[in-house]
Symmetry: C2
Subunit: 395 residues, 2 copies
């Protein structure tokens, strides 16, 4: 277990904290680019409350609205242009993962004269690693990606059907202002996809990480158990603020480094899902719900003992011994059944994806990221035909 950890984002986690946006922002700038997604924050009044708080603090607001799910590099370019034209010195992301991710890359694009797509890892010989960005404040309205308190962003290129990531320390938001009340209005399907996203962030590190990370294993299991328990409450009653708060907190720790510190693993399920949603307009969490159980069944045959631990500690199953594949597979089945019970798809057909392009999904995934043997990093590393086999098992 050898690793480095650094996360300087200041977290303010508090119901009703949206009203503090102005007071928090004024420490970092005077002209804010306020980035939003579709119209929901405008319809429910959150946008107006945010603007009011900013203006009360004397901050001028420029706007970049319309960031789409699976945010596009064209949108990043557009936002970066607005920020420059309007002389913004601060970017505020008010929305879900796509809004926060786009805002982060806009912030780095501000100091880069090339095309921001250069920053997104897509198999180019030398990706541009940004080292400077405008300060970003994240105000998440959805519990899912954990982008509010990490240094990652995922961006799509609609022209090339590529969806990939950038990670750089300058992308850490200066502050994450997390107000769980803002997630009260999230509809059931998006709530469920968010739950799947959270759990998948955790399982990626848990199953693909190095051996010998007992603290992280416990943190991972605790995060999954809490997400399942409070996720069900949030789905049963969207106005259950305590449940919303716990799910949102779980989404943050799932990907701010606390759960996966030192695990140093690949994220193969994410990589495969990114290719699917580059070709098809699939919600990330829904795509993960299909890919993750299929990947788990494949990976469990290579390393059953970790999947037995998962079955035991998450679902209370008893493995007869550590390499009891039946117990491992039963745990995966329980997990898949849970995802389906909360309204997530678990087959590609539910996403209206058939086998026509399966070879291409595998090739594209490997084109974006592969190890020196040409395989997708993870445990086990996956060849193109492994990826195809996983996807076929989920048809």
């Amino acid at each position: 277990m050898n690793f480095e950890y650094y996360n300087p984002t200041r977290l303010i986690f508090s119901s009703g904290s949206l009203k503090r946006l102005g007071e928090v922002s004024v420490q970092y700038g005077k002209r804010a680019l306020l980035v939003t997604g579709g119209g929901s924050v405008k319809r429910n009044g959150v946008f107006d409350r945010a603007v009011a708080s900013l203006e009360q603090a004397g901050i001028a607001v420029a706007e970049c609205s319309g960031v789409e799910p699976n945010p596009r590099i064209t949108t990043v370019r557009r936002g970066a242009r607005i920020a420059r034209d309007e002389g913004c010195d601060l970017i505020i992301a008010l929305g879900g993962g796509s809004v926060m991710d786009a805002a982060k890359v806009m912030a780095a694009a501000h100091y880069y004269n090339g095309d921001p797509w250069d920053m997104i890892y897509h198999g180019q010989p030398k990706p541009y690693l940004p080292t400077r960005a405008l300060p970003v404040i994240t105000v998440p309205t959805l519990a899912a990606t954990g982008s509010e308190m990490n240094m990652g962003a995922v961006i799509s290129n609609e022209e090339t059907c590529e969806k990939s990531f950038v990670q750089a320390e300058c992308l850490y938001p200066v502050t994450a202002l997390v107000d769980p009340e803002l997630t009260i209005s999230v509809p059931q399907d998006q709530t469920a996809y968010g739950i799947c996203d959270i759990i998948t962030h955790v399982t990626e590190a848990y199953f693909n990480g190095v051996d010998g990370t007992p603290v992280q294993d416990r943190f991972a299991e605790g995060t999954i158990l809490t997400t399942i328990q409070y996720g069900q409450r949030a789905l049963a009653d969207g106005n259950d603020l305590e449940a919303r708060a716990q799910v949102q907190w779980a989404s943050i720790v799932a990907l701010n480094g606390w759960v996966n510190a030192g695990t140093n693993g690949g994220f193969p399920v994410h990589m495969i899902e990114h290719t699917l949603s580059a070709y098809h307009d699939v919600t990330h969490g829904a795509g993960l719900a299909v890919v993750n159980p299929a990947w788990m069944r494949f990976a469990a045959r290579h390393r059953p003992e970790k999947f037995v631990q998962f079955a035991e500690r998450i679902f209370g199953l008893r493995g007869k011994d550590a390499d009891n594949l039946d117990c491992a597979l039963e745990g995966i089945k329980r997990f898949e059944t849970y995802l389906h019970s909360i309204g997530c798809p678990t087959r590609l057909s539910e996403l209206k994806i058939d086998d026509t392009l399966i070879t291409r999904y595998a090739q594209d995934t490997l084109r974006i990221i592969h190890d020196k043997h040409g395989n997708l990093p993870g445990r086990p590393p996956l060849s193109g035909s492994d990826i195809e086999q996983i996807l076929r098992s989920a048809l």
Copy 2:
């Protein structure tokens, strides 16, 4: 659950990382004050290796050695003076919790013209809260206090028999360089006291925090389980590097905010122990081993359900129902038995403390910290006679 979290310390956790000290330090300064404790780092060569790495990176080294266990304000004053006289622009703490705590306060004293004791919370009307400090790099040689990655320090005043704390953001080390190999030489008794310190950090937040922190509960339980399991291995074989590494990692997460984020609780066991070790030269972790089980038995009667959860999740006991006091007390007994089994004292008599000064311990603890009703903060808040009762039960 309403809270703020901020921890900008960069963590490098890696066996053999001591050799990187120079390379890491040179980013922050050119003249380092190297703070150490007793002679162990000199006897085992760690001091020489640290100096060699620093000098190779072109860093001049001034020295402040001899920081005692329960570090004294006189030592802080001495170190701050050396740093000024030698023109140091960086402080490196190479040692255990006392060395790291003293170094942090020296770093803040550098920018404060008054007496550094003003910073230590001891019941004065207006404690001085430092806002600026020299950069500090921590290199822990003991797994215990977690001081390497937090903003706290505990300092004693030998003249007034006071021992208390300061917490300020400027005290976050810029980097914690954690090399578990450095803890291989820690003797069994200190290893055991460190284990008790780690677990007590976790139980304080767990039992005194607000209700409704399910993620933190799981993190706490996972940290305790890991500390017990790997602590036993480290005690059985001090050269077991993996066990040493896991215990050290547990010591860091126990008090860097990851386990206790949002719990917002008091630390009554620490406050009581601080008074004991202000009067008697007791190792902090050994004092905690006596006070914690006694406090637990007192507190369990007020809030058995959390102690039942502890008994169930840590020791696998089954509570008949959530307020089953028998189950709670059995869990506490198991915990006390565990502490004794690894060589910790669990009675005041083992620390050679009798009941002569019990009233004064209670009064002094409350003088340093109390709520508006004059009680020691915690669940439940403790009056002076409560504190006496707890201490008498541990005689």
